[in-house]
Structure formats: C-alpha cells, structure tokens
C-alpha cells in the first residue's frame, strides 16, 4: 500500500517546486498539469482502495516529530476528507487546462502557486495532528495571497491584504483555541499531545464549562471566518472578485473551514457548556448567511461579486447542515462542500471568460452574450442552474439533505433558508437575463467564445456536477458513514 496521504501532499509540492523553475509558459503549464494529473491518479488510487463502510481513519501514517510537545506528523484519510481531496484533485487539472492559453506574467509562479495551494489544502485535509493541521492551514494563505496580489484586478493589493490579514487573524484565534485545548488536555492527562482525535476526545473531560466554551468558540471562529459565514465574510467579496479566475477557483476549493467544522467542531459541540445555544448560534449564522448572501447578491452589479455573495449564501448551507446534527443533514453539509466546489468553479470560470472576452464584468454593460458565446452560455447555464439548486445537479442533493434533515432540529432556521431559495433563483436568472440574453450589446465589439480547452474543462466539471447530482452515492456514502459517527456521539450525550 502506498503512503497515499503523504504522497498527496508531497507530489504537488515537488511539482510546484520544479514548476517554479520553468522558463516558458508551455513548460510551466505542462508541468503543472502533469503534477496535477499525478495527484489525481494518487487520489483515485486512494479512492479505489477506500472503504466507505467504516468511519475509521484509513491510510494512516504517524511519525514522531516534537516529542517534548507531543507533536507527531500523523496523517490519514477518512470519509470526511476523501471527498474533498477528490474535489480538489479533480478540479485542479481542469483549472490548469482552463488557464492554459491565457497570457500572463510569470506563468511559472502562477502554476507553481496553484500546485502549492493544492498541496497545502490536501495537507489540511489529511492532517491528524493539530500542529500539522495548522501549518498547512496557514500555508494555504500564501498562494492565495499572491494569486490575488499579482494577477488580480484593479483593487488587488487591497483585496489581497484584507484577505490575508483577516483570515490570518481568524486562524490565529483558532490557534489560541488549539492551545487551550492542548494545555487543558495536558493538565488533564499529564501527557502533552497535539493529536486531533485525542484532543477532541479529551475535550469532554475538561471541568470548566467556560473553558470548554471558550475553546470551542475560538476554534470555530477560525473555521467560520474561513468558510466564511456572516458576519465574518468581509474579506470574501473583495478577494473573490479581485482574484484572477484561477485564484477565485482556488478560493472556492479552499474548503478547509467547513472541513474543520466537521472534523473538529462538531465532535466537540455536544460537550460544550451549552450545546443548545451553540447549535442555535450555528443554525442562525448558517441560515442568515444563506438569506443575507442571496439578498446582497441580488443587488450586485459586478458578476463576480454576485457569484462571491452567492458563494457566501451557499456556504451557509454547510453551517446550517452541521448545526442540524442529524446524520443526513451533516452529510448534506459535507456534500454541499463538495458540490459547491464544483459549481463555483464553473461559475468563476464563466465569469472569468466573460471578463476576458468582453472586458467587463458589470452585468448591465453586458447583454446578449449568448449570441456570441453560445458554448459559454450552455456551460454557464448548467453552473447557474446547479447553483440555484436545480434537481439533477449536485447543488440540489446537498441543499435538499441539509434543509430536510436540519428541519428536524432547527425548523425555524430552515424556513428562513427556504425564503432565500426564491431569491437565489431570482438573482441568478436576472443576471443571466441581463448578461447573456436579450439584444447583443454592440458596444462590446466582436468578441470570441471560449477556447476549446476552456470548453473542455468547464464541460467536464459540468458533467461531474450532473453525474454527482444524479448519482451522489459514490461520495455521499462515505460522508454518511462518518456523519453517523459524529451524530451518534452527539446522540449519546442526549443533544
């Protein structure tokens, strides 16, 4: 058996390092593509050998690292991480293909950063030690920062710093929580350890409920700000919309916030001082994010900003589903992460293509693009439909599971979220109507449709959206297995 978990980090990292030293655009893109393909191969290998009937950790590796602090390099994959690894491994090759023909400065860095990002994100997913987790968590910041800062739009510098510092603060607060967890457990057991699962288990034995609440809140703050959820989302519209297309896609692949929610926060939740309050808080943040994101998206003039707010709205489902704390609502939330990654990739690629071709993203300055860009229109339509939760596409499965099964515990919040569904459909269709349909805006001149590589990569992702929308079981089953483990833990405590 290959040490897949480690290889999944190492391979993209090595390819990234090599890519940084390439000279031409073709070399950089080619090498990047190769690296992402190898990673995809490894991921598929892991997926094939993955047993989705058990919630236990698979492909487990552990090496002692800093014994005096109880830090180990331990990695593994389970049903929470596998789908997300799959997601990023699938999208990155297509992302590279999509960007292949674009001309830009320093392509070697561009592709190198994409692979670095991939390695970092996978690192977060496989890490089983808080320190390793945190290290990769922080590492994800760097590629994104530079993505926005170098290749971004007009306000890129501002947007990149805002994102960088905002989420860094959030992750530092999370780090504080981790410290608290670490020391409290150390005091409890007399043995220092940074093992995620061990610490999460120890959490329930801490005597002070104030301490438990403080730890829980500070850790979840890091996650919520990363996802993001209202009201910690301020960095999102700027960063998403100023980033280059690939950067925006990398942002949506940055599923580490939600991942942390499932891996760390949810198992801790039942043991907090006042679980009901926490659940209510999460449920509120989730459902309010959904509604609020949709409402604000409705008023956006910039296509990419609209998509960014729609992303905020969609991530609300993750929070809401997690708060639902029913097996299927939690699975739905996990599936929403997966689905959101695919769908938003298409949307940002579409917006990027429009920006490149038409030179503007302001919705009212577009119009009738469907005539000139029929291929884009088709793919974009699939993306939009998936985004507004059309059945048969992944978005629906996730939203359905989340809404239906969160309703068991959180009926009020689900109703709030349901209100947003019409609005979601509204802003999507309205944008579509203004940008793509109607009379062609002659001011845009003669514009080109997307190139064949772009068609291929976007269509491929769209097909995946369709495939997993029709047949979610390949990824959903493992999510269910793991959510069951999480929920049964909560159920045992009577929450």
């Amino acid at each position: 058996m290959l040490p897949v978990a480690s290889l999944l980090i190492l391979v993209p990292l090595i390819f990234a390092a090599v890519t940084f030293f390439t000279k031409t655009k073709e070399q950089a893109a080619g090498l990047g593509f190769l690296g992402s393909l190898v990673t995809l191969g490894l991921t598929l290998y892991a997926y094939m050998n993955f047993d989705s009937s058990t919630a236990a950790m698979q492909f487990f590796e552990s090496i002692e690292w800093i014994p005096s602090l109880g830090v180990n390099y331990s990695v593994g994959i389970d049903g929470i991480s596998m789908p997300l690894i799959l997601l990023i491994s699938i999208v990155i090759p297509f992302l590279i293909l999509y960007s292949w023909k674009e001309d830009r400065e320093a392509p070697n860095r561009f592709y190198g950063l994409i692979l670095t990002m991939q390695a970092a994100v996978i690192g977060v997913f496989v890490a089983l030690d808080f320190l390793v987790f945190y290290i990769f968590w922080e590492l994800t910041l760097i590629p994104l920062f530079f993505m926005v800062n170098i290749w971004g739009g007009e306000k890129r510098v501002h947007a990149s710093y805002k994102f960088f510092i905002y989420t860094h603060v959030a992750s530092l607060v999370m780090l504080l929580g981790i410290f608290g967890l670490f020391y409290a457990s150390w005091q409890q057991t007399g043995i220092p350890t940074f093992d995620i699962r061990e610490l999460v288990t120890q959490f329930q034995f801490f005597e002070s409920s104030l301490l438990r609440d403080a730890i829980f809140l500070s850790i979840i703050f890091g996650f919520l700000a990363k996802m993001p959820a209202f009201p910690f989302h301020s960095w999102l519209p700027d960063a998403y919309s100023e980033a280059p297309t690939a950067g925006s896609v990398l942002f949506v692949l940055l599923k580490i916030g939600g991942y942390g929610l499932f891996r760390i926060s949810l198992p801790m939740l039942p043991n907090t001082g006042n679980p009901d309050l926490m659940i209510t808080m999460l449920g509120f943040l989730g459902s309010f994010s959904i509604l609020y994101g949709a409402l604000v998206a409705l008023r956006q003039k910039d296509l990419k900003r609209m998509i960014a707010y729609s992303s905020l709205s969609h991530m609300g489902f993750v929070t809401l589903g997690a708060a639902g704390l029913v097996t299927l609502s939690v699975s739905g939330a996990m599936f929403q992460q997966f689905s959101h990654g695919l769908i938003m990739s298409i949307l940002f690629m579409s917006a990027g293509a429009i920006q490149t071709s038409a030179g503007t993203r302001i919705i009212n300055n577009l119009g009738g693009l469907a005539k000139k860009m029929p291929k884009l229109t088709v793919v974009m339509m699939v993306g939009f439909m998936a985004s507004l939760g059309l059945p048969g596409l992944t978005g629906f499965i996730a939203e359905f599971l989340v809404l239906t099964f969160s309703y068991v515990n959180l009926p009020g919040f689900v109703l709030l979220a349901l209100l947003a569904i019409v609005i979601t459909a509204g802003y999507h269709l309205w944008a579509m109507q203004r940008a793509m349909f109607g009379v062609y805006n002659e001011k845009l001149g003669d514009i080109m449709d997307i190139n064949s590589l772009q068609v291929f990569s976007m269509a491929a992702i769209a097909l995946l959206v369709l495939y997993f929308g029709l047949n979610p079981s390949p990824v959903l089953n493992m999510m269910i297995t793991n959510s069951e483990a999480i929920v049964s833990l909560a159920a045992a405590l009577g929450v």
Partner: protein, 672 residues
Amino acid sequence: MVKTALEDFAFLIPLLPALAFVITFFFGRKMPSGGAIVPILAIAASFVISLMITLGLLENPGEVVSQSYSWFAVLNIGILIDPLAAVMLSMVSFVSLLIHIYAVSYMSHDPGKARYFAETALFTAAMLSLVLSDNILQLFVSWELVGLCSYLLIGFWFEKPSAAAAAKKAFLTTRIGDVMFLTGIIVLTSDLLKLAGGFQDGVYLLRFDEIFSYIPQLAALQANILGFEVSHLTLITLLFFGGAVGKSGQFPLHVWLPDAMEGPTTVSALIHAATMVTAGVYLVARTFPMFIAAPDSLLVVAYLGGFTALFAGTMGIVMNDLKRVLAFSTISQLGYMMLGLGLGSAIGLEAVGISIFHLINHAFFKALLFLCAGSVIHAVGTQDMRELGGVGKVMPITAATMTIAALALAGFGIPGTSIGTSGFFSKDAIIEAAYLFGEHSNNWIPYVFSIAAALLTSIYIFRLIFMTFTGKPRSDYHGHESPAIMTIPLSILALFALVFGGLTKTGFMSFLEETFANSFVNIDIGSLAVIGQNELVEAAGHEPVFVLWLPLIVAVVGLAVAFVIYYLRIVELGPIASMKNPIYRLLYKRYYQHEIYTEFFSLGIVYGVIAFFSQVLDVIVDSIVEGIGILTVGASEELRKIQTGVVQSYATAVILGVSLLIILVKLIMEVL
C-alpha cells in the same frame, strides 16, 4: 409473460426522450430538420410502451408496475405506473408526439431548431418521469426539471428581451410554488422520521406507500401556527397545493402563464396541454389520500380552483392576443380541474376521476387550440386578433379543427347521452359535482363559480373564433393553409377532442378509482375521509334536470353573445372596450398584476427595501473591517513621528519612561 416483459421497459419511457435530448443537443445541428426525428421516434416509443402498459392495466388494474431502486441515502428512485400514471403517461407522450411532429414544419425556418427539439425532448422526458415517480422526491426532481425546460423553452428566442423576461418570470413564479412544495416535503420527511423513529434499512421513506401508511398519525400531529391549531397533514397538503398553484397557474401564482406564450407556439401547446401545467393537478391527484384525510385542505383547493376558473375567464374576454386568450383559458380550465379535485371532500375518490378526465380532455383540445393558433400565426404572421379576421377562408382545415376545439372547450354536448365533445363530459361532471357539493354542504360558492366561468369560457372562445376566422381581413396578410405535416396532427387531435370523452366516459372513472387500491397501495378512502372530517355522499345520478342542462345552456348563451357581438357586430363595443372604462381597464391590465407583483413587490419590497438594507448591513460590516485597517495605517503614520531624530528627545523619552514606569507600576500595585 408479455406483461412482465413490458414492465421491464417502463424505465425507457422517460429515458428515451432524455437520450433523444442528449443526441439532438449535441448532434442535432448536423441532422436534417434539426434532428427532429430522434425525439419523435423516442417519444413515439415511449408512447407505445405507455399505451401497452395502460392496456395491460386496463385488464388487471390491481397489478400495477412498481419498481424501486436505492438512489442516495434513504431515498429512492422508482417507477410506479398505476391507472392514474398510466393515463397520464399515455396522454403526455401522445400529445407531445403530435406536437413534435407538428413542430417539424412549424420550426423549420428557425436556426436554433436543434436546440428546440432537444429541449422539448427533455421537457417531455421530465414530465414523463414526473408522472411515473413512485416517491415524492423524484416527483419533485422532475417537477423542477419541468420548470427548467419551461424556462429554456419560453426563453427560446432569448434575443428578444420580452422572451428572456417571460422565461425568468415563469421560472421564478413557479419557483415560489416549488419552495412551498419543498417545504411540504421537508415537513413531511421530518414528521415521518419522527413517526418511524429513524431510518430503517430497505425502507424508502418518501415512497408514496410509506407516506400513505402514516396518514392517520400525520393527521394526528398538531401544529400551532399563528394561534391556529393545524394538523400537520393539513399543513403538508396545503404546502403541496402551494406547489401545484405555482405550477398549474392557479391564483395568485398564475401570472407567468399568459407571458409564457413568448416561446414558440408549439412550446405553449406543450406547456399548456401536455406537460407543465398539468403537473400541479397531477400532484394533488397523486397525493389525494393525504388531501382527503386533511381537514380543510380540499376545501381550499376547491375554492381556489373555482375562483381561478372565474378570475381567468374575466381576463380572457378582453385579451386581443390570440395566444393570450388561450393562456387565460388554460388557467381557467386548470381551475376547473382543481375545483374537481377539491370537490373530493364530498364525492371522495371520484374527484380524481373527473378531474383527471378533464385534464386529459383538456390536453387534447387545448393542444389543438394552440396548434391551430400556431398554424394561423405561422401562416399569417401576426397573433393580434384585431388584425386578423376571415382567416377561415384561407385556412379551412385549421378553422374547422379549431372550431371543434372551441366547442370542446365550451363543453357542447347533449346531457344524458354519449353524444358530445370530450370537454362536455368532463366539465359537466365537475359542475355536477359542484352542485352535489353545494346541495350536500349548503355551500354554493363552487357551483356559482363554475357556472359563471362556463359562461365566460364560451364567450371568450367564440369571440376568438369569430374574430379570427370570420368576417373580413382587418389587415393586409397573406395566409395559406399549413402543410400536411401540421394539419394531420391537428386532425388527429380534433378527432380526440371530439370523441374521446364520449367513448371513455364511464370506463375512465372506474379505471382511475383503482389508483389507490392495488398491489402498491391499498387505501380505504372512506376511512381517510373520516379522519379529514369530510362527509362523503353517494355518487351522482339523481340531480335535477336543470343541473344537467344548465352548463349547456350557459355555453349556448355564451356562443350567442359572441355571435351577436363579434360576428353580427350589431353591438357597438367602442365605449365599453375602451381604456376609459375602469372595469375594462382593470381587466385589460390584468388586475394590475404586473404593477403589484413585479414593480411593487419584487422590485420595490424585495429588491428595493430588503435587499437594500442587506447591502447597507454589508457595507457596515465591511466598514468595521476596513476601518480597523485605516486606523492602523493612520496610527502608524502618527506614531512614527515620535521618533524625531533628535537624540536629546530620545534621552528625554528614556528618562520620562523610567519615571513613569516606576509611578505606573507603583500605582497599579496599590490599586490591585
């Protein structure tokens, strides 16, 4: 043996059109006439399979086709072809087939015809899949797909801003209903979870038989909404009905339907007759056991249906657009169907029979009406009735078939016999049931609604006929009769519109009554009605004579009015039909729905107020973050000035620092 073999092909019914969609979408452009042959063959095959299954069921109604497969989690996909589904399947595939054939010619000049045929194939597939769902989720999925296809097809000519807007409107309006439907499913699921005590392996929670088996418990659950004690079942069924209201264009979510004619006429035919709008009626029929067991639900259905029938009729009589008149007619007729279902509170399961009977008949004559209208538009190039007139002379077949359709719509026939148009039998059945209901509960509102609507129906449809086909041409057009490929479907439909009702009148009802008592589910509607506090009465048959004749009389009166005004033209309409007349204006403006719905509610309240304040909130949240940044940079610029560069001031700082530190520490220590 044959029957089992047929069952195995049931999955092909929606799948073949879906495959046709894929093939036509990707390769249609390279095929002759946009690859129309692929969907036509596929739908033909679906029709054949449906028909054969239906025939098989007719022999043995108890043995329904039921197949279930696990989809994801505890949910399944499956096929359920019981009598209700079977007739729907046959009708949908048949009408859709005819429309497709017709469209080969109708769309022959359109550059996007490949896309057209692909989308209509998908539309049909979605509708077929909706009909044969054996669980509520799959039904919802198909339901939404139907919505998507309607969006695509209404906006088929997307370069026309009005088409794009209409498509969006259709999708959004039905979406409101969809959300209610979804909410219903959510409430239902969560209730079922509670009642079933969690998930069990192999039990598909949302399959209809599962759902129906929990009806008594569901009815017993009470919820308190705004101070009213409401049974969960009532809540769920009303939410379902909300979905049906959206899809089937009932008041107040009917506004999308008149605009939906922005698409090609064939699309309108498909939407109005076979596919989309009937879904809502089908949903209520499908979950009828829940409705009848839920107190008050059917009453709501009946009132709303009756009201819609009348309400739409009032608008129908003032419209000048050929297709728009038909659109309002559809809304009105759908109102009848809903009314028919709603009357189930008195007549029980028979309601499903009469309602679906009307649905099927309506499908034939409404498809015919639209296709005829399409034929006229195709030939003449305009759809404004004020510019038409005398078309009958140039398009005799079209005129004849359309007249038949109009007769069917108005419900001409001889009571007590089997002679009559198909619309006559079904509509009269509903009106009679309404009478029964009135007699039974002393509540005459539905009956009054239905009679009034029948009058209006007759007026507006004959107004249409007279304005279009008779008299002199009112504008300069060059019409010609449509080619055979268009007129043959017209003729076939006309035949059905004429005789289908009479032929199947009795058999149809009894066949449909088997829907809820067979190998899949076995429900005693009577006991459910008791739960729902609905007292059932014995079937019809002893109504007074005037009840039987009144609908016909009303129809004839309507015809006469239209004849006098629009054929003989002996009444001067000018002062009445002017915008100065407030009633006319109100009707012509369609009760100011656009102003209320779009401009006031959507743009004003939602976009202007709620979304605006959300955006303000967003700016505030963002300003806090930005403010911290600006503050830091400002502080930095100010604080660096402390470092003056003069060494003496540095020394001062050091010494002051020492003194102050001592004092500060001392003070803090004293305080603590």
